[in-house]
């Protein structure tokens, strides 16, 4: 069974004349170790899908199963606990608590889970080092660049060793160099650390890091493309393209 599985997922905002169908009939599966990008024009329901996958919002119809749990069956407390242990979030904005330093921010999920402070901080620092922020552990968010803040957010999303990492436009306001770095870390999270990563992006460059792209349009999945790197003949194809351009 896949880590994430949705069945006929639908979300309608509002009622009557003002009702907006943000998502309809979404059937999606994501396995552990898989890196999936979600793309589509603005307003097509990408964020809505992420909210539903993360249990931040309840679907109008259909189900979301995470690691065998039907999110619809869980009361708020259990959902909260699930978010804490199984899911890591990375948002575009407002990711960090401004009064806490990088380590404290990254340690939050563990602290919220009642782990001892020393242990939580040690793990947070280890993750900060893995995302390349070993030398910025005691800086507050306002002393970090946007890319560095996002990396703290990634460390925070990974620190509790969640099965699933959800990112909504994590590189939305970064330059292409920082975007590459962030995408690289997410790629690593999937490949090396075995997390399922689902990421919303508008940037083809970032989407190309994923194993699979899901295209949304007007709330529907219109296409799914597998970008398998190991596929034979692929490198030959690249050669030809490069020759053509050179």
């Amino acid at each position: 069974m896949s880590l994430i599985q949705t069945e006929n997922l639908a979300k309608v905002y509002g009622t009557g004349d003002t009702a907006v169908t943000a998502l309809s009939q979404v059937n999606l599966k994501v396995d552990a170790g898989e890196f999936v990008a979600v793309m589509g024009p603005s307003g097509c329901g990408k964020s809505t899908l992420m909210h539903l996958l993360g249990g931040l919002d309840r679907p109008t119809q259909g189900r979301v199963m995470i690691d065998g749990h039907d999110l619809g069956d869980l009361p708020d407390q259990a959902l909260t606990a699930l978010r804490r242990r199984k899911i890591g979030f990375i948002f575009q904005f407002f990711n960090l608590i401004p009064v806490l330093n990088a380590t404290e921010n990254a340690a939050l999920p563990l602290l919220l889970d009642g782990r001892p402070k020393a242990e939580a901080h040690r793990q947070a620092q280890a993750w900060l080092a893995k995302v390349g922020l070993g030398d910025r552990q005691h800086h507050r968010p306002d002393q970090l660049s946007g890319g560095q803040q996002q990396r703290v957010a990634i460390a925070r999303a990974l620190v509790a060793e969640p099965a699933l990492v959800l990112c909504d436009e994590p590189t939305g306001n970064l330059d292409s160099r920082s975007s590459d770095e962030i995408a690289g870390v997410l790629r690593q999270a999937a490949n090396e650390w075995g997390r399922a990563v689902v990421m919303v992006t508008h940037d083809p460059r970032i989407a190309a890091y994923a194993d699979r792209i899901v295209f949304l349009k007007d709330g529907l999945v219109t296409d799914e493309t597998v970008l398998d790197p190991q596929k034979s003949g692929n490198s030959a194809l690249i050669e030809t393209r490069m020759k053509a351009m050179a």
Binding site: F94, N95, L112
Partner: protein, 851 residues
């Protein structure tokens, strides 16, 4: 846990100014409640210090509930009860000493203001308590004008064994030879002078009377002792009580009332504090919507969020309360130091240090921390309802408050209706409740009224700032956030309401009391004992003094007061015996109910009693009622024929009756206060000389001219009012701070918006004008409401005073209204200027980034 604490501390630290202003509000509330409640017991303690030091040695002390003397036979009745081993009947009376009696030096404060004369049968008192005679001997049966005193008293008076101790007594200055010295007192209280019972009865002019019976039992078994006490109570009857004498019980009722009023003020202060905290936390929650949403998204539960906000409140509550306790003690100490002068002059008491009881500390801490938590609870719960999505969608938060605002309007209307109903009842407790309802109601309906009022004021302001349409912009801002605007102006409202209320109340009180003062003390001369108004601790004079005074050439009328203690409906009451004929010529009562002429006629012709308002209120008696008065030997029924008060006794539970009746029912013929009028054209110098001559044996009385006394009293009165004004300022300062605080927070909250304005091209001066206009609109709304509320509350407070027994005519505080308008607008502008300048000076980028 430690994470939450870290987070809370960091957040608080991040907004130092706001945190300290918020905490200050709690500090002031706790300071008032705690400080005032340490002061009052110190007063009470000063009165109760006269309790017998011997109390520790005896099993039971039997006294008359009225505090008056009774026949010696009562001692035998007690002795006859089974289980009573020994009994001693004594006559004990405090003797108030005139100022500088021993040291003759007005420069140094007197340590001794009273002694207790104890008349005892030597053998029986030694059988009940041991007396360790250091020098000389103990009393012996048949001793006459001799006394045994403590070593400390001897030192204080500069006397030795064999010397003569002079004391003022009702039969004149009396000399006692010191025959023995006892160790100094261990327990606090008056120094004792032991004489034989017969000598005491002679000195106080009460032959065959005692006022205390001490008894020791023959068992230590608790149950048996309780049985014996019950048997004694049954044997002596209902007019006796098992317990020590408490002179001045009637003023304690009054001090209790004052304590309640101050506690109410403290509660008002705390209400204010709670309100400020509420507002701050409301802001905090709005400000941190993203943080909270993000925390929820990464797995913080609702409880965690509530806890986070509450911990912040708790920290502020604990710090504020601790500071409040310390400062409160300091204030109590200062207040006591300030009033001890007045206390000595007026009441002849020595006031000690502030009294801190564990109960009071617990209460203050509970109330201080409790209010903070309570005020934080609603915003904390609102915070816990912030959904994780709000971290991602920045615009949802504002809606929830608006819904609450709509609901609360009707709740506010209900509260206001309740307040109006309270005003009709005229009950003091309900009136106090009503004032809280009124404030609460106004706060609740304020949001609904902000829009129309803001519109009105903006039109006025638009004229002032006509150039750039900034007033409209400001009005728009207010209308978009009616709750915030309402909270801000409500703070102004409360601050000014308190000012106007206090002014109204104080003006009314001042006018009423001044009238009474002139009316009551308008005689040509007065003979004043050491303690005015707590007559029971004074040593008066036998009727011969009055005769002597009347005999002086040029004297027209001499009117005197005779005192006896009693109880009506279990309320301690001071009775004053007057001769209506003479009394009405030299003094006067201000009648609230009843016709003066009929009333005075009735107290002479039968058992008629005029009572004052305090007594009416505290004993729950009405005009025309029959009331049962406790006498030293039983009870007697009087009819209430009038409700009236004089200046000196307006504050204590007092009844006026004829001197014939007080002699017949209470066995009192001792004059404690005199007022004298001269014939027209009398030679004042000669008269004064003659008075001095007549007063030679009675140093307890001071001769003062009527005008001099009125002036002196007005001085004390003014001092007391200065004190009350200081209290009001104490209460107004935190309110004004709160006002500045909320206005400033309003501006700080909008820093981002201001950055945006600047970014789209608003000039600095325009930004400043917008903020200033906004603050002025808010201040104007608050001021308008504050004036209304203040007038209402002032009226309510005077009604409450009437309900407590001080009938006060309401005076319109015109001046205070003008001051309040000025203060409201000035502070409003002032509160806006600093943050407005800051905001305008802000780097646009920084303002936009402001989180």
């Amino acid at each position: 846990m430690s994470t939450y604490l870290t987070l809370a501390l960091r957040y608080l630290n991040g907004r130092k100014l706001r945190t300290s202003l918020t905490t200050l509000a709690i500090v002031f509330g706790v300071l008032l409640i705690f400080g005032m409640n340490t002061v009052m017991p110190a007063f009470i303690g000063a009165f109760q210090a006269n309790a017998l030091a011997m109390a520790g040695q005896v099993d039971a002390t039997i006294t008359s509930k009225s505090g008056e003397a009774f026949p010696e036979s009562v001692a035998e009745t007690v002795a006859a009860v089974a289980g009573v081993r020994v009994v001693s009947g004594t006559l004990e009376r405090g003797i108030g000493l005139p100022a500088d009696f021993f040291d003759q030096d007005p420069a140094t404060a007197d340590r001794l203001t009273a002694v207790t004369l104890v008349g005892a049968v030597p053998d029986t008192i030694r059988s009940i308590a041991s007396f360790n005679v250091l020098q000389g001997r103990f009393l012996e049966a048949g001793d006459g004008a001799v006394a045994v005193i403590t070593e400390s008293l001897a030192d204080e008076a500069g006397l030795q064994l064999g010397d003569t101790l002079s004391l003022p007594t009702p039969i004149g200055l009396t000399d006692l030879t010191i025959v023995g010295l006892l160790p100094q007192r261990l327990l606090p209280g008056n120094e004792e002078v032991l004489v034989t019972l017969s000598e005491a009865q002679r000195l106080f002019n009460v032959p065959g009377q005692i006022n205390v019976v001490d008894a020791n039992f023959d068992t230590a078994n608790e149950a048996a002792r309780a049985q014996i006490e019950a048997d004694i109570a049954a044997a002596v009857g209902g007019s006796f009580t098992i317990g020590v004498l408490q002179p001045g019980a009637e003023i304690l009722t009054n001090i209790g009332t004052a304590q309640r009023i101050f506690t109410l003020l403290g509660a008002l202060g705390l209400l204010m504090g709670g309100f400020i905290i509420f507002n701050t936390f409301r802001t905090i929650v709005a400000e941190r919507r993203h943080d909270i949403g993000m925390l929820r998204a990464i797995g913080a539960s609702r409880g965690t969020i509530t806890g986070l906000i509450l911990i912040e409140g708790l920290i502020q509550g604990v710090v504020g309360t601790a500071a409040g306790l310390v400062l409160g003690y300091g204030m109590g100490w200062l207040a006591l130091a300030a009033v001890s002068q007045i206390g000595r002059q007026l009441l002849n008491i020595q006031v000690g240090a502030p009294v801190v009881t564990p109960g009071l500390v617990v209460l203050s801490v509970t109330v201080g921390v409790g209010v903070t938590l309570l005020a934080g609870l609603l915003p904390a719960r609102a915070a816990s309802r912030v959904t994780p999505l709000e971290a991602l969608r920045p615009s949802i938060g504002a809606l929830a408050w608006r819904r609450i605002a709509g609901l609360s309007f009707w709740a506010g209307v209900v509260l206001l209706a309740g307040a109006a109903a309270a005003l009709v009842t005229g009950n003091a407790g309900l009136l106090a409740l009503g004032s809280f309802l009124f404030i609460g109601g106004l706060i609740l309906i304020a949001p609904a009224l902000v829009n129309p009022i803001a519109g009105l004021f903006s039109r006025v302001l638009a004229l002032a700032f006509a150039r750039d349409g900034t007033a409209q912009l400001a009005e728009g801002n207010l209308s978009r956030q009616p709750t915030r605007a309402a909270v801000t102006s409500a703070t102004t409202m409360i601050a000014l309401a308190i000012l106007v209320m206090a002014a109204g109340l104080i003006t009314s009180l001042a006018i009423t009391f001044t009238e009474m003062l002139e009316n009551s003390l308008s005689s040509d001369y007065l003979l004043v004992p050491p303690t005015v108004a707590v007559w029971g601790v004074n040593t008066g004079a036998s009727p011969t003094l009055a005769e002597d005074l009347r005999a002086v050439d040029g004297v027209d009328v001499v009117s005197s007061l005779r005192f006896a203690g009693t109880q009506i409906n279990d309320v301690a009451v001071g009775l004053l015996g007057i001769e209506p004929q003479a009394y009405t010529q030299t003094s006067g009562l201000a009648f609230v109910e009843g016709d003066p002429e009929t009333a005075f006629r009735e107290i002479e012709s039968g058992r008629g009693l005029i009572i004052n308002g305090v007594l009416q209120a505290s004993a729950g008696v009405k005009m025309g009622d029959d009331v049962t008065l406790l006498t030293p030997t039983g009870t007697v029924t009087y009819k209430v024929v009038g409700i009236a008060s004089d200046y000196l006794n307006a504050k204590t539970t007092t009844g006026y009756l004829s001197q014939a009746n007080i002699a017949a029912d209470f066995g009192r013929a001792e004059d404690v206060f005199y007022q004298i009028n001269l014939k027209p054209g009398a030679d004042r110098a000669a008269v004064e000389a003659a008075f001095k001559q007549a007063l030679q044996p009675y140093p307890q009385f001071k001769l003062v001219s009527g005008q001099e006394y009125v002036d002196q009293n007005r001085g004390i009165f003014d001092a007391a009012f200065a004190g009350i004004y200081a209290m009001v300022i104490f209460l107004a300062i935190p309110s004004l701070i709160a006002m500045i605080n909320t206005l400033a927070i309003g501006v700080i909250e909008r820093t981002r918006e201001i950055g945006m304005l600047r970014a789209v091209g608003a000039a600095r001066s325009q930004v400043q004008t917008v903020i200033l206009a906004e603050a002025l609109i808010l201040a104007a709304i608050g001021t308008a409401f504050g004036l209304l509320t203040g007038l209402y509350l002032g009226y309510m407070a005077t009604s409450a005073f009437a309900a407590l027994g001080f009938p006060v005519t309401y005076a319109f505080p015109g001046q205070a209204m003008v001051v309040a308008v000025a203060v409201g607008l000035l502070f409003g502008a002032f509160a806006a200027i600093i943050p407005a300048r800051q905001a305008a000076r802000l780097d646009i980028i920084q303002a936009l980034r402001y989180e």
